[in-house]
């Protein structure tokens, strides 16, 4: 009997929760704030859904009600992606400066 593809996705999901569990416990507490901002940035990979939605409009009507939601979602996710990665980078940079000064 064929296995439903949903089960494969569910397996990926469950295994990823375990990976997340062990990876996050190994994050040093002093980097918990960058952890939150970077998880924020990567969860905005939801932008792939927004792009699919936005590009679904036919060439005659680029903006139909469904694609408009997609376009707005693109803006929201893009703010998060750029904002999240850049602010994380800015924070991590501060952890570097001192180190260079010391050693």
């Amino acid at each position: 009997m064929e296995i439903d593809p949903f089960i494969f996705r569910l397996s990926i999901f469950i295994l990823s929760i375990f990976i997340g569990y062990y990876v996050v416990w190994s994050v040093t507490p002093s980097l918990h704030t960058p952890l939150m901002s970077v998880t924020n940035a990567i969860s905005s990979v939801i932008i792939v859904g927004a792009i699919i939605a936005a590009l679904a409009g036919s060439s005659g009507s680029i903006f139909n009600i469904s694609s408009i939601f997609g376009f707005i979602a693109i803006i929201l996710a893009a703010i998060n992606i750029f904002g999240g990665f850049l602010v994380t980078q800015r924070m991590l940079q501060m952890y570097k400066k001192k180190k260079d000064k010391k050693k």
């Binding site: 999901f13 980097l31 952890l35 939150m36 970077v38 990979v45 707005i72 990665f85």
Partner: protein, 467 residues
């Protein structure tokens, strides 16, 4: 146009890069590289999406324009935001993830054919369940984060808003969402779909308003977790591996951070969710008598003298330090002490800031080397062997009551053993209690010298006196 199988492989790669991004954060040395992995993963995911659709009509131009508009706004915010405002920023970003999830779900509901989910009115059952769960969690994340943002920003009062029957109402609405999703699957009715989203927005608001300002670190972590589950829900709908992996990672990350924060405050997750903490300062009446107790207070000169003659000093910073913007003055003071061969370390309580790890970032911004900064469990034994503890802007996390008085609301909370130091310098504007609304016994200890002043001003004065 690339095949579905090939793009699935690329999505997997981008998921792995995201895992590596989090893995990098296990040490400051590898963290920057980790961030680049994350960026690479994101670029791969976006490019592969473009290639797999292969629709290079004029829509694409608009997609890129909107992407750049959002990107510019995000970059602007990222460079401008002061580090003290990180909690608000993160709460704001969570709300955007939540809203994006809602919009993608709406879009998929209105035009399921674009996502290969069937046609309007005949959406595949599994997809319908997945998208409504994604939309519901996204909506809760959105409105909850907005409330958290307003509270952190001070636009809304940090005190909990409670009313009778609140928990029953939440329970009722929560069950209502499940019932509606069940009927949505039977009828495919758009109205039910909209109702699910509206109720979820309401639930988000109701969930966060009863939670007090002191519990905000838990709330932010919790919303972090929700935003991950929302992304995973959408990932199932879109059958996208990158999104499923990421959602699971973020979801478990937020859950772990919530757990760490709860443990640091000795509060159960359930009691934080039910809220009301810090609502009534009913212990007020006790305080009247306590104010009579003698307090030793000193000035900057005394403090400088004490520290100059010490051989080791432990700094205990709290959020009050950040509010007073005293971290740079503090660093200056520490530099002077170090020049006199005094060993200086920093002791950080997990809830010292308004979000997990917040204090570490604030100290890093003031160029404090991260190898001088220690977590509670790593440094707590050192207080007994140190000469001076310099408490600046912290309060509840140093209160010995947490260890001695089982009746205290913070009993059992892990605290820094500041009182074991030979002498304690406590910078504070007045004897007023902290967030938990209780008196700090430390003020009245024989070895405590209170320095009543603004944290920044006092630190600057001490710096002058150290010369």
């Amino acid at each position: 146009m690339i095949s579905a199988n090939l793009s699935a492989v690329f999505y997997l790669i981008s998921g792995i890069l995201f895992i590596l991004a989090l893995r990098g954060l296990s040490s400051p040395d590898t963290s920057r590289q980790g961030n680049y992995f994350g960026i690479a993963g994101m670029i791969i995911a976006v490019v592969v999406t473009f290639l797999s659709i292969g629709n290079f009509s004029s829509s694409l131009v608009y997609v890129i324009v909107f992407l750049l508009i959002g990107g510019a706004v995000g970059a602007f915010i990222a460079f401008r935001i002061p580090m003290t405002a990180m909690p608000e920023l993160v709460a704001g970003f969570h709300s955007l993830v939540g809203l994006a999830a809602v919009f993608v779900a709406i879009s998929a509901f209105l035009n399921p054919a674009a996502f290969n989910l069937g046609i309007v009115g005949k959406i595949k059952l599994a997809s319908l369940i997945e998208m409504s769960i994604g939309a519901a969690v996204g909506a809760i994340t959105f409105s909850g984060s907005i409330i958290a943002f307003l509270k952190l920003r001070g636009i809304m009062s940090g005190s909990p808003i409670t009313f009778s029957g609140q928990h029953m109402l939440n329970l009722f609405l929560g069950l209502g969402i499940f019932v509606l999703i069940f009927y949505l699957c039977k009828t495919q009715s758009a109205n039910i779909f909209w109702t699910v989203i509206l109720i979820s927005f309401l639930v988000g608001v109701l969930l966060i308003i009863p939670i007090g300002g002191a519990d905000m670190p838990v709330v932010i972590s919790m919303l972090n977790s929700y935003s991950g589950w929302a992304a995973a829900g959408i990932g199932f709908t879109l059958e996208n591996t990158a999104l499923i992996i990421t959602g699971a990672l973020v979801g478990s990350s937020g859950a772990i951070l919530s757990y760490i924060m709860c443990k640091a405050m000795n509060r159960s997750f359930v009691s934080v969710i039910l809220g009301g903490f810090g609502a009534d300062n009913s212990s007020e009446d006790k305080k009247g008598s306590k104010d009579q107790k003698p307090v030793k207070s000193g000035n900057a000169e005394d403090a400088a003298f004490l520290m100059k003659n010490a051989s080791s000093v432990i700094i205990v910073p709290g959020y009050g330090m950040a509010v007073a913007q005293a971290q740079h003055a503090l660093r200056e003071m520490v530099d002077k002490l170090k020049k006199n061969d005094i060993k200086v370390t920093y002791a950080i309580h997990p809830v010292a800031g308004r979000m997990p790890g917040h204090m570490n970032v604030l100290l890093a911004e003031a160029n404090v080397p991260y190898d001088e900064v220690f977590e509670l469990e790593d440094i707590n034994n050192d207080f007994a062997n140190s000469d001076v503890a310099f408490v600046i802007g912290a309060n509840d996390v140093t209160n010995p009551v947490a260890k001695t008085d089982p009746k205290s609301p913070i009993f059992g909370m892990p605290v820094l053993d500041v009182e074991k130091c030979k002498s304690v310098l406590f910078v504070k504007r007045s004897l007023s209690p902290g967030y938990a609304g209780i008196d700090n016994e430390l003020f009245y200890k024989d070895n405590t010298l209170m320095l009543f002043a603004d944290a920044k001003k006092m630190t600057e004065d001490i710096v002058k006196n150290l010369d």
